[in-house]
């Protein structure tokens, strides 16, 4: 949406809240820029002037399409409904050592990516949402830590699984983690000595 308003040339459309581009009848998708359309139409005539920004990247593209294009991707409603009820939200408590109260986070909000991306997203969300003074640091051998930049304290993310054991976050595939995780705890590194780091096992 923001791309549209930047390109909008009429102030009145901004004032009315109606984006001119949005109401224009064109054959391109809502959310795509006109340069995409030109690229599509020019493809047979001059492939050399394709815009480099159209190159496919590895990062997931915006979710605009799914929300705005009816019937896309072409999947039966029956299937969508069946999978939606399977993936109901899962809110778990998050505790941080030393913080006066707990928070909750929905683990199902990070689905749809590779495991490592989902974990990154979860920790980034914890960092953004609750503890703005922490930074998220990922060490070379896949260990994840959060660091309080003010006091220098390191926190290790851990979770309690269905058997009641406290586990290091990040070892198992994302979906298994979501299924087995009962609660999260950001444990001070100094207390976490007994949780063997992944490399040491």
């Amino acid at each position: 949406m923001s791309v549209e308003t930047e390109r909008s040339s009429t102030e009145s459309s901004a004032a009315s809240g109606l984006d001119f581009e949005d109401t224009a009848l064109t054959l391109r998708l809502p959310g795509s820029s006109s340069s995409d359309t030109d690229r599509k139409r020019a493809s047979t005539s001059d492939p050399s002037c394709r815009s480099p920004s159209a190159a496919a990247s590895d990062s997931p593209p915006s979710p605009k399409y799914a929300a705005r294009v009816v019937g896309w991707p072409p999947v039966r409603s029956y299937r969508k409904n069946a999978l939606a009820t399977a993936a109901a939200s899962k809110f778990v408590k998050v505790a941080v050592d030393g913080a006066p109260y707990l928070r909750k986070v929905d683990l199902t909000a990070y689905a749809g990516y590779t495991s490592s991306t989902s974990y990154d997203q979860l920790l980034a969300a914890l960092q953004d949402k609750f503890f703005s003074h922490l930074t998220f640091r990922k060490l070379g051998n896949q260990e994840m830590k959060l660091v309080d930049t003010v006091s220098g304290t390191e926190y290790v993310p851990t979770y309690e699984d269905k058997d009641g054991d406290w586990m290091l976050v990040g070892d198992v595939p994302w979906r298994m983690f979501v299924e087995t995780c009962q609660r999260l705890r950001l444990m001070k590194s100094s207390e976490a000595v007994n949780l063997a780091p992944r490399a040491a096992r």
Binding site: T23, A24, L25, T26, L27, L29, S32, D36, K40, R41, S43, T44, P47, R50, A54, A55, A56, P60, P61, S62, P63, Y65, A66, A67, V69, V70, G71, W72, P73, P74, V75, R76, S77, Y78, R79, K80, A82, L83, A86, A87, A111, G112, Y113, T114, S115, P173, W174, R175, M176, E179
Partner: protein, 575 residues
């Protein structure tokens, strides 16, 4: 041949393999027409509005099995508004009046009511098989009527229907005298069923070969049932979420061990990875496996299971399997003929852990592959060219790149060359769905090479009318063409109007067709119904390049002997 007694001619006709051939012999002479129509047992109606039900029943009074299909395919994706049509009632009522020997009814994408099901159950004394696929409009009360009155019922197969749940009573309506069940599929029923009733029903059905349970059936019930059905060939499990005790796991394993005839497995509702190892012993004998409703299984769970399934011919999975999982499939399942990879997330569209690499791996390992449905994040021309060379036996090839209009991931080019290779190498291709960035060139390839193509699905593709014209000109066997969001207009629509009488139907939505073009088509071709479906009237004020005429939102064209239909809602205009 006309000097043979009728019974002899009829007997000769009985060797004809399909409806197409029987239709042909009917045209030879009046005598043959009469003999054929009175001896026709199986009737297939591909479009319920192509012919009046009364006419079918009048012509084939002795039919035993009837198949009727209703809404166009794109109705699956919510592109057809509700109340558009496709009502089963006229068919069931006509059959009730003229064809009381009916035994089997198959319906797809139709609106079926409880009243119709009750009429069906009470009218046909020899009724034995009801198969409903992607239908709606009925409740479990209708099923209760079927269960109660169809004394000889062998098959009740409900696939992906929208069924209103009115409680578990329906399953208990099968009388104690009902012992004839061969196939029971209630996987799409949302509510609970009575476990005791289910177990007793299974216990008194010695011929049961196919059983598909719904999400509510717990593991212990499944185990008890499996102990009673050692001859089961096809099973859809109930709920396999992991909150059960160790004894339950053991009972489940013992039960599966008994089922030596099991060839096909599906269900896996909410399946937990912990229960999968108990199913491994059965994997080696499976030819069909559907894990596409188990989003809680990740790539390693899936591959561990599939690596045991060495005889697999048909596999349906979610994209959680990822490219590396597909490599395991390629090395384990050498007999694979059909693969479907579905997306697991619809709301973060555009990303999926499967890419062109997974499909290339499959094409290298599974050279018998003939049917594919593949949702993925990206594709390349090079991959498609490789796949086409490795698997020239494709009869069905459906590729859906999640982001509309996405180009080749490596070169940024359109995917014309890739799909061109597919249609060139796969000479037996009957069904094709294309996606990604595509110009008119891909349609030129399709028109040139896809001579056996019967069904083509197009979305967000092409540059101009020329694209559609290539297809209409070149694809001699085309029966169904469905297009959405592509720049084809009146010129393309009207280029080859006679062709529409050789096809079942044409669907065009969000294209550049105007009402004027549709009117011209309707006036030139009186044997077609030209349905203009415009849900919203407000859009028609602003138009771009079309001479001031409003664009048609949705267009559905089909050949028919029935004339305009009288059950159309007010947003459908039949020209």
């Amino acid at each position: 041949m006309t000097y043979f007694p009728e019974e002899v001619v009829e007997h000769i006709f009985s060797f004809l393999p399909g409806q197409h051939d029987r239709n042909t012999v009917s045209l030879v002479c009046k005598v043959w027409y009469e003999i054929e129509r009175l001896s026709r047992r199986t009737v297939f109606v591909g479009n319920c509005y192509a012919v009046r039900p009364e006419r079918v029943v009048l012509r084939f009074p002795n039919m035993r099995a009837l198949t009727v299909k209703g809404k166009p395919h794109f109705a699956d994706f919510n592109l057809v508004p509700p109340d558009w049509g496709g009502y089963a009632a006229p068919w069931i009522e006509a059959a009730a009046r003229g064809c009381v020997g009916l035994e089997e009814l198959r319906m797809k994408r139709m609106v079926v009511t409880d009243e119709s099901l009750e009429l069906l159950a009470k009218t046909f004394p020899r009724f034995r098989a009801l198969i409903l696929i992607s239908c709606e409009g009925f409740s479990t009360d209708g099923l209760a009527a079927i269960a109660s009155h169809c004394k000889l019922l062998r098959e009740l197969d409900l696939q992906e229907n929208e069924v209103e749940d009115r409680g578990p009573r329906w399953l208990s309506c099968f009388p104690d005298s009902c012992t004839s069940l061969v196939s029971l599929n209630f996987a799409c029923i949302k509510g609970e069923v009575n476990a005791g009733s289910l177990e007793r029903l299974v216990a008194r059905s010695p011929n049961l070969r196919s059983l598909r349970l719904n999400r509510s059936v717990p593991v212990d019930t499944l185990s008890k049932i499996l102990m009673r059905t050692p001859n089961l060939e096809d099973l859809g499990t109930g709920n396999l979420a992991d909150d059960f005790q160790t004894e339950s796991y053991i009972r489940l394993a013992l039960a599966f061990d008994k089922c030596k005839m099991l060839r096909s497995l599906s269900g896996f509702w909410d399946a937990s990875p912990f229960c999968l190892p108990f199913i491994y012993p059965v994997c080696a004998q499976l030819t069909g496996l559907n894990l596409s409703y188990a989003p809680t299984l990740d790539s390693s769970d899936l591959t561990k299971m599939i690596s045991h399934c060495v005889k697999l011919q048909r596999l349906w999975v979610l994209d959680c399997i990822a490219d590396k999982g597909l490599q395991v499939v390629a090395s384990s399942c050498k007999d694979l003929q059909e693969l479907r990879v579905f997306p697991s997330d619809f709301y973060i569209a555009g990303y999926s852990p499967v890419t062109e690499e997974g499909l290339v791996a499959i094409s290298l390992g599974c050279q018998k592959l003939s049917s594919l449905l593949y949702f993925c994040h990206q594709m390349t021309n090079a991959a498609l060219i490789t796949i086409a060379k490795n698997c020239p036996n494709f009869t069905r090839f459906r590729l859906c790149i999640l982001e509309p209009g996405k180009p080749d991931a490596m070169t940024n080019q359109p995917l014309d060359e890739g799909f061109g290779a597919i249609v060139r190498e796969c000479k037996g291709l009957r069904r094709l769905s294309i996606s990604g960035l595509l110009t008119d060139k891909v349609f030129m390839y399709i028109g040139t090479y896809a001579k056996e193509l019967e069904m083509l699905s197009i979305a967000f593709a092409g540059d101009s009318d020329a694209g559609m014209m290539h297809v209409m000109k070149g694809c001699k066997n085309l029966r169904k063409l469905e297009i959405r969001d592509s720049p084809f207009g009146d010129a393309a629509l009207l280029e080859n109007v006679a062709k529409y009488e050789t096809m079942r139907s044409l669907w065009m939505s969000s294209c550049n067709v105007t009402e004027k073009g549709c009117q011209v088509l309707a006036s030139k071709m009186p044997m077609l119904n030209v349905e203009v479906i415009n849900e919203l009237d407000e859009n028609n004020e602003m138009d771009e390049n079309h001479g001031g005429l409003p664009k048609v939102d949705k267009l559905y064209v089909y050949r028919t002997t029935a004339g305009g239909r009288d059950d159309a809602p007010n947003f459908v205009k039949i020209l």
